[in-house]
Symmetry: C2
Subunit: 453 residues, 2 copies
């Protein structure tokens, strides 16, 4: 067999020209979003916030959706991302397994989020939108949208959870450097924010509050829309560029994954990598295991309920059928901020519900241990979110060592950890603990689920 290189590239001509829409291949696609009245959400309600093309993608049953030329041109500034063969890690673990990873950190947002920020900026621009609003917690999504808006010449207003803005000042600065207006939320720029501040002037904010502020500003501004970085079908669709590239890269080296692994927060990076492979399983019966990795502190897929729930705490968003811990479940302050979400993508949820994918929950100490080992061996400092996938991939590789099987493992390394060094410092000092929750907290979370009977 020819030696497989450390990095498998694609030429520009070889890059995918289509996103893959798994809804076309699902026997039972997720049911429609519901409004507060329990009835399917009317399209007009969503059209005030999103451009028509994205809403079409949200509902589409077409298998392949063409990537517009201008989006492909912008992708070309950092895509295709390399498929890396982790030779050094394999050797260090002494495993017969072949370990591969897609690395999505080589772009200005430092994560996979730019893959959807670019088309969202493009479609909004094409429909005459002048301003996009959004919220950001950990900051990857906010950075991605800021970079994409700079590329397409759209104004960007981002509400950053105040606690994050204070803890991660670098994230705020990089967004501002790309020209974004960043407000620490709750802010005095919206009615909702002023209301929160009136009640609690010291409030350090939440994603729920930030979403409400961003939506309010979009609805009240001229030619403005709102933009979301995960969960929704069109967001996951855009991320499938990752998996479509990986399929082509594996074809080049005549290998194919037995196991595909990715972390799950809202679900877009998992879907982005895994859906094109799952499509082959659904259509052609290819046998591959798919492992979704979540933090044990926020075990949506492993301990949550499959039910209709809102995306935010206030119930401003439509309700989606999904795995959820209930919007009343407040995960402890773990360092993988991008995975602290009570729900999950409807598409990922239905796959889990039908046992087409596996889910595993990992503890924070194990995850940081794997991250540091990976950094030392492979020379790449991962984001704590991505380290969940690394940790699970290492476990699978060690299981191969045990069983003597030379399986092919693929995982998604979604981003770098340069903005997470305070967390690494805590780990180096031995201060990282396994954030846990009580049965009571889990019960209270599930009790917050809306009742649509």
């Amino acid at each position: 067999m020819k030696r497989i290189p450390n990095k498998i590239y694609l030429s520009e001509k070889e890059t995918p020209k289509f996103w893959y829409n798994i809804a076309a291949d699902l026997p039972n696609p997720p049911p429609p979003p519901l409004g507060k009245d329990g009835k399917p959400c009317p399209p007009e309600q969503l059209a005030a916030l999103f451009p028509i093309e994205l809403l079409k993608q949200e509902m589409s049953r077409e298998r392949y959706i063409e990537i517009p030329k201008k989006v492909r041109e912008a992708y070309m500034t950092y895509r295709p991302s390399p498929l890396n063969r982790a030779y050094r890690l394999e050797k260090a673990l002494g495993t017969p397994a072949r370990i591969y990873y897609k690395y999505e950190g080589n772009n200005p947002s430092g994560s996979h989020k730019l893959n959807t920020a670019i088309p969202q900026a493009y479609y909004n621009k094409a429909e005459g939108i002048k301003k996009l609003t959004t919220e950001t917690g950990a900051g990857q999504w906010g950075t991605a949208l800021a970079a994409a808006c700079a590329m397409f010449g759209i104004e960007d207003v981002t509400y950053m959870v105040k606690a994050s803005a204070q803890q991660k000042p670098y994230r705020k600065i990089i967004m501002e450097t790309f020209g974004a207006q960043v407000h620490a939320s709750p802010s005095d720029t919206t009615e909702f924010g002023r209301g929160v501040l009136a009640k609690d002037p010291g409030c350090r904010g939440s994603l729920g509050t930030a979403i409400s502020e961003a939506v309010e500003l979009a609805l009240k501004s001229e030619k403005a829309h709102y933009s979301l970085g995960s969960v929704l079908n069109h967001v996951v669709l855009h991320q499938t560029v990752i998996g479509e590239e990986a399929l082509l890269q594996f074809a080049k080296i005549d290998d194919y994954p037995d196991i595909v692994i990715a972390c799950v927060g809202g679900g877009s990076n998992f879907g982005g990598l895994a859906f094109p492979f799952i499509g082959k399983t659904l259509r052609e019966g290819v046998r591959t295991r798919y492992v979704a990795v979540e933090p044990s502190a926020c075990p949506t897929l492993t301990r949550g309920k499959y039910a209709y729930d809102y995306g935010d705490m206030g119930g401003f968003t439509p309700a989606l059928m999904q795995y959820t811990l209930g919007s009343g479940f407040i995960p402890s302050g773990i360092h993988a901020g991008g995975l602290r979400y009570h729900g999950a993508s409807g598409l990922v949820s239905v796959l889990k519900h039908e046992n087409r994918i596996e889910a595993v929950a990992l503890s924070q100490t194990d995850v940081f241990g794997a991250a540091v080992k990976f950094a030392e061996i492979e020379g790449l400092l991962p984001a704590p979110e991505s380290a969940h996938a690394i940790c699970a991939a290492m476990s699978e590789a060690l299981a191969c060592k045990e069983s003597g099987e030379a399986k092919t493992i693929l995982f998604n390394l979604t981003g770098h950890g340069y903005f997470d060094l305070a967390a690494y410092d805590e780990y180096n000092k031995g201060n990282i603990t396994d954030a846990a929750y009580s049965d009571e907290e889990l019960k209270n979370g599930l009790a917050s689920l809306p009742d649509f009977k």
Copy 2:
């Protein structure tokens, strides 16, 4: 003409197997280093600090030096680096010029420094060395050596200038995450450091002090050596992997640079990119312009003197023939910390002395303006050091617009700016000024030159 892709890659098989040693092609190579007595430095003095193979490289007149297999394997985790065609920037500037850049930030050190850290760790390991000591200011070099030592299983002790350790805590943490011991210098771990602290307990350190501590520890420890991240011939040699790759990449697309641009601190990234091209000029008479870019706050090549000088303030190092402002010249606290060096590589200096290369000094405000523009257009946030090369490349591209010439411009983008966001914040707020110096300060600096008559 075939369309040139956004990124020009090389396969692993195509990557350079040799570093290029410009000393082989120079009509007048730099004269030997001198000791305090004004006589050529005895090899034993250097052998206490560096492995034999690196000293051989330091003195070598061979044109090509083979890259060891294990070094190539480690390079392969992040090399070859892409040659990027900056289409979006060309369009934004409206220039007929073709702009290309090598991007060296896609590795754990975030800069080109890893290209020499890896062979330095390798050669030391091969000679039975168990511990490397070094100093770091801005932190790129310290991070690179920490990552390389983790790869080769060597202990790493780094003295980080105390002021930097306090201003850039993330840099300290990333080194520690790679397993390095990081001491804020002056420290109480060396006699030299204790002496400094006894005189001034609040001392915030300097590169000179940190070098002295690192050298003392190397000399006093068992099986330990000292490691340097720029200036010396063997360091620049290792960096030529950048230019050798670029030569091969240009051959692939049937283009060739008319102008090669890089920033200069100690000179290793400039030499690394430009020397393989200068070699073609020296041997074959290929006409290319070479532009070394420095900050106007530390104008070594444009305002310095070509003379023997020490590498540090205390005169602990041998004296090298070089362009220098005198070790007594203290540049103002500009944000491109990696370019605040009073001297320059002997090889770069002799090329400037013989007018084989040009030098230009740029102001800090112009440089940050170019950096932010580049980030918005090309979607890549550069380190302030690298932004000097960007700024000069933009000027050349605008000159092409004026003259209507479709020149080919190549520059070195040495690293990302993720650890420099505090500086970008100052720029965004309008607080960045053109750090300057008085004629008096320049005179005092030059007056500090040693006298070897």
